[in-house]
Symmetry: C2
Subunit: 256 residues, 2 copies
């Protein structure tokens, strides 16, 4: 309970009702704490999306003043947004100096992919065992949608369906929270994926791989399902040598 006093700009006097301790989250109002009502939340989402898009490329300076002016806000909500991004390692804050869109750390990227595979493996295995028929139908529907979107060439929607498939498997396995963790990991991997994935025919390939995973799940063959998911995720595997020369400024290597 102790708290080290430091200076002493204290002015407020505390002589009111102490309010019952352990008072629960109240009754009404504010259903979800993390809703998008605060301006800082809007700025956060916006900046995050632009960083993930590579609209804001690695190394770009982000001045709180500039952003505040652009949004017509004060520095306070902008700063809160930037602090969130810093925590997620999407920006680097250099105190009293400057803030920059973070470069993509190659070694962490490698670990992120390993971690993601480990977590998805758990989800697929559990989903194979316990997924209800309604979940399997949902997953089939997503794969079908992926095929349609691949045909139509709608990369953005396809990407969303892709995510929905993985999220669906986690949910079917009873692990929505693990999907949340995977999404955090994805923040790190996504920029890399965007750089390396504008390949032709990739969407149809992904849909096929998803279908293969789902087939194994429906046959109750967890090991095969896991193996197929792993091979699917292995497509993210990185070729350091190549990208080091292609976009030298976008990545951060250990020996730098």
């Amino acid at each position: 309970m102790a708290a080290p006093p430091k200076k002493s700009p204290s002015k407020r006097a505390k002589t009111r009702k102490p309010r019952a301790p352990n008072s629960p989250p109240r009754s009404s109002a504010a259903k979800v704490p993390g809703q998008a009502r605060r301006n800082s939340e809007i700025v956060y989402r916006d900046l995050r999306d632009q960083i993930m898009n590579l609209t804001l490329s690695p190394g770009t300076p982000l001045a709180e003043n500039d952003i505040a002016d652009r949004y017509g806000l004060s520095r306070t909500p902008v700063r809160e947004a930037i602090l969130r991004l810093a925590e997620e390692r999407l920006v680097d804050v250099f105190p009293k100096s400057g803030t920059f869109v973070a470069r993509i750390p190659m070694t962490e990227l490698r670990e992120a992919i390993v971690a993601r595979k480990a977590l998805e493996e758990v989800c697929v295995r559990e989903a194979t065992v316990k997924a209800s028929e309604s979940w399997r139908a949902e997953l089939r529907a997503i794969v079908q949608r992926e095929r349609d979107l691949a045909e139509a060439g709608d990369a953005q929607s396809f990407h969303e369906a892709d995510n929905a498939f993985h999220a669906g498997i986690a949910a079917a396995g009873g692990y929505p929270g693990i999907w949340t963790m995977i999404e955090k990991i994805r923040l790190q991997v996504e920029r890399y994926r965007r750089l390396t994935l504008p390949q032709e025919g990739r969407m149809n390939l992904v849909a096929d791989e998803h279908a293969a995973v789902l087939d194994a799940m429906e046959q109750g063959d967890a090991d095969t399902a896991v193996a197929r998911m792993n091979s699917h995720l292995n497509k993210l595997q990185i070729d350091i040598g190549t990208f080091r020369h292609l976009w030298p400024d976008y990545f951060l290597f250990d020996d730098q």
Copy 2:
């Protein structure tokens, strides 16, 4: 690049040097961005530790004003600390209403344990294959230290050594970043552990289990090492019925 203007309290005029874009993180100064020089960082660490200690128990109200007064700071750094805690789900912020130490979410806890096992499994397996002799010596030293601390009954230091063992395995496997992820997961599990672990003789048991894992690793038997680590981590497994009645106010259940 576009940013939706909203109101218009813009005042600053930007007519200076645009500063070379993509300018790198500069040369000198500020070695590590996330250093503990900022007051907000101090407050964050302090509050986080108190929450993990259960010194600040689940449900306790945290008023920014009170904390600011206690530390002799303004609300700004305190608020930044609280926002970080909110992101880590250690506190719940109810806008314009109040902030409270979060209750321990039972279902997320279960998933957190599953995720941790999946990630530690990867680390143990890789460490078994590739750990250098110096790392194995380091791990042996940690286990020995655990035995000493168990003998001395120093629970706090033992806890740190416990962590060092798991961190060491991750590092030996070449996955320090995965250990960082595990530490984030641990934030959720730690309070639960503190509630349930004041058992007699627990420290010696833990040291034995660590030693068993290390033995299998040294014999190059990855499967056994993984199995032993899993059984070690399974000790965290939860008995919902019990705790629901023991500390009804500390936990959050789905049906609430």
